[in-house]
Every structure is written in structure tokens, then in C-alpha cells.
């Protein structure tokens, strides 16, 4: 197995693993945040505006961890520096 096949295989597998593992944590975190916010709104409907705003900001902060994983995955698949290096080395 050459360098090219090896790098391609490792990149794809790592991309899948990154997405899989990287979305578990934020999924649990968001589920917990939403559940807490819903029960808080059920208890105090008057404060729904403040709770919702804080919830959205919190969700975005939680979700950004998943987004980082997504960015890394996109780099691995579409803009992989090692892959580009091997391709240019093979061409030139």
C-alpha cells in the first residue's frame, strides 16, 4: 500500500470518527440544556424571554464544539495538506 492510499484511508476514517465522536458530546449537552430550559419555562413562564435568549446563546456555545469537529473534518476531506503534498510529489 503506497503513501497515497494510506493517507487517503487514514484521512477518511479519521474524518468519520471525528464527526461521530465529536457530535455525541454536544448532542448530550444540548439535550440537557433544552430540557432544563423547558422545565424552567414551565415553572416560570414570565421569564420565558430571558430564558430563551440565554438558551440560544448557550446552545450556540455548545454547538460550536461540534462545529469545530466539522471544520476539522472538512479540512481532512477537502483541504488535506498531506494529501496535497503527496499529490504534488506524485505529479512532479
Amino acid at each position: 500500500m503506497g503513501d497515497m492510499a494510506l493517507i487517503g484511508m487514514v484521512s477518511i476514517i479519521t474524518a468519520g470518527l471525528t464527526m461521530a465522536i465529536g457530535s455525541i458530546g454536544p448532542a448530550f449537552g444540548e439535550a440537557r440544556a433544552v430540557a432544563q430550559a423547558l422545565s424552567a419555562i414551565a415553572q416560570q413562564p414570565d421569564e420565558a424571554g430571558t430564558i430563551t435568549r440565554t438558551l440560544f446563546v448557550g446552545l450556540a456555545m455548545i454547538e460550536s464544539t461540534a462545529i469545530y469537529c466539522f471544520v476539522v473534518t472538512m479540512i481532512l476531506i477537502f483541504a488535506n495538506p498531506f494529501w496535497d503534498h503527496v499529490v504534488t510529489a506524485a505529479a512532479g
Partner: protein, 229 residues
């Protein structure tokens, strides 16, 4: 499919290149300036007003209310900065419904520039309100031992601000492009609608986070308006 819209080059003259990011940023800026100029040309103070003036007034008062809620301070001095951030990001995300338009926020250069502005604005507002000594002192709180962590936090939250907006907008484009290859008929439109929603939420969150960072640098020694809440 091009992920990096910096590499779409429309015009090149020597070392100067005009890529999609710059072009669409200018377009959004021009739209904002032109609409604002055109609407505020003849303002009326009476009850009867043009519908465009009504729109701008609703926008400005909504942003003011949000700033007042979040920072518990008078919104006056923050309104130009936060309002501009929100309107720019929101408009550049909303225009994604126009065919051929690529949102400039889907490029890391744009979002990094916006995040650097927030990074600069935090000490500017902080020193302006509390003075240099008091501002620098808060980096050594609660103990001097926390100094490197506070500085690291300042840097990492700037990077997080940039990557969050970039990742969200870029992922919308990529998902639509992938779906176009698999199920080209119905689902790309649904995801594009979802992208509009994400774009608005991200614009809101970008502005809110900028306001929270600025408020955390300015609010410390002020008396809170409503401490009970």
C-alpha cells in the same frame, strides 16, 4: 464545489486580486449604507412616517432593548458597534437566497476580521469606562496566578467567535452542495431555508457574544441597575 470562497477570483491586476469575499463584502456594505442613507434622507417626526423609516426604527429600538437587557447599561455608546456587527452579519447571511451570491461570512477571513474587531473593542470600551489600571487589574483576578489563563481565554474566545460563524455558514453551503449531488430535487431547498434560520441565529449570537464580552470588561465596578434579577 469550492469550499474556500477566497479562491474565487473575479478580477486580477498585478498583486491586487478581487475575490468573491471582498466583492460580496463590498456589496453588503454598499447595500447597508445606501438603504440607510436613502431612508434617513427625509425623516419625519410626526406620527405618519414612511414604512422604511418604521422598519429602521423597529430595528434600532430592538437592538437597543437587547443591549440594555444584556449589559444592564445604557445602550447609547455600544449601539453603533454592536448594531453594525449584527446588521452586517445578518444581511450577508440573509442575502444567501439570491442566486450566485456567496455569503462573505462563509470565509474565515471575514469572520476573523469581525472577531478581531471585537477583540480590539473589549479593551477600548473597558479602558474608556474603568481606566487603564482598573482594566488591567481585572486580568489578575481572583489571584495573580490566573493571569495567563485570563489572557489565554481572551485569545481563545476570539478564535472561537471567528470559527463558530465561519463553520456554521460554511457548513450550510457544503451541506446544500452535497445534497445537490444526492437528492437534487426537494431537500436542498429545505436545507437552504434551515440555513437562513441558522444565519439569523448566528448573527444574533455574534452580536450578543460581542456585547457580553464588552459588558464583562466594563460592568465590574458599576452599580447594577437591577441586582435582584
Amino acid at each position: 464545489m469550492t469550499i474556500n470562497i477566497d479562491s474565487i477570483i473575479f478580477w486580477q491586476w498585478g498583486p491586487i486580486t478581487l475575490n468573491a469575499t471582498i466583492l460580496f463584502t463590498w456589496l453588503v456594505m454598499a447595500l447597508l449604507v445606501l438603504i440607510s442613507w436613502w431612508v434617513t434622507r427625509r425623516l419625519s417626526e410626526e406620527v405618519r412616517m414612511s414604512r422604511w423609516q418604521n422598519l429602521l426604527e423597529v430595528l434600532v429600538t430592538a437592538i437597543q432593548d437587547q443591549i440594555r437587557d444584556i449589559s444592564r447599561q445604557q445602550p447609547g455608546q455600544y449601539l453603533p458597534f454592536i448594531g453594525t456587527l449584527f446588521l452586517f452579519v445578518a444581511l450577508s447571511n440573509l442575502l444567501a437566497i439570491v442566486p450566485g451570491y456567496r455569503p462573505p461570512t462563509a470565509s474565515l477571513s471575514t469572520t476573523a476580521a469581525l472577531a478581531i474587531w471585537v477583540f480590539v473593542a473589549v479593551p477600548v470600551f473597558g479602558i474608556g469606562q474603568k481606566g487603564l489600571r482598573a482594566y488591567l487589574k481585572q486580568y489578575a483576578k481572583p489571584t495573580l496566578f490566573m493571569l495567563p489563563f485570563n489572557i489565554l481565554g481572551e485569545l481563545s474566545r476570539t478564535i472561537a467567535l471567528a470559527v463558530r460563524l465561519y463553520g456554521n455558514m460554511m457548513s450550510g453551503t457544503v451541506i446544500v452542495a452535497i445534497l445537490l449531488g444526492i437528492v437534487p430535487l426537494f431537500f436542498p431547498i429545505v436545507m437552504q431555508l434551515f440555513g437562513l434560520l441558522t444565519g439569523m441565529i448566528q448573527a444574533y449570537i455574534f452580536a450578543v457574544l460581542a456585547m457580553v464580552y464588552i459588558a464583562s470588561a466594563t460592568v465590574a465596578h458599576q452599580k447594577r441597575v437591577a441586582p435582584a434579577e
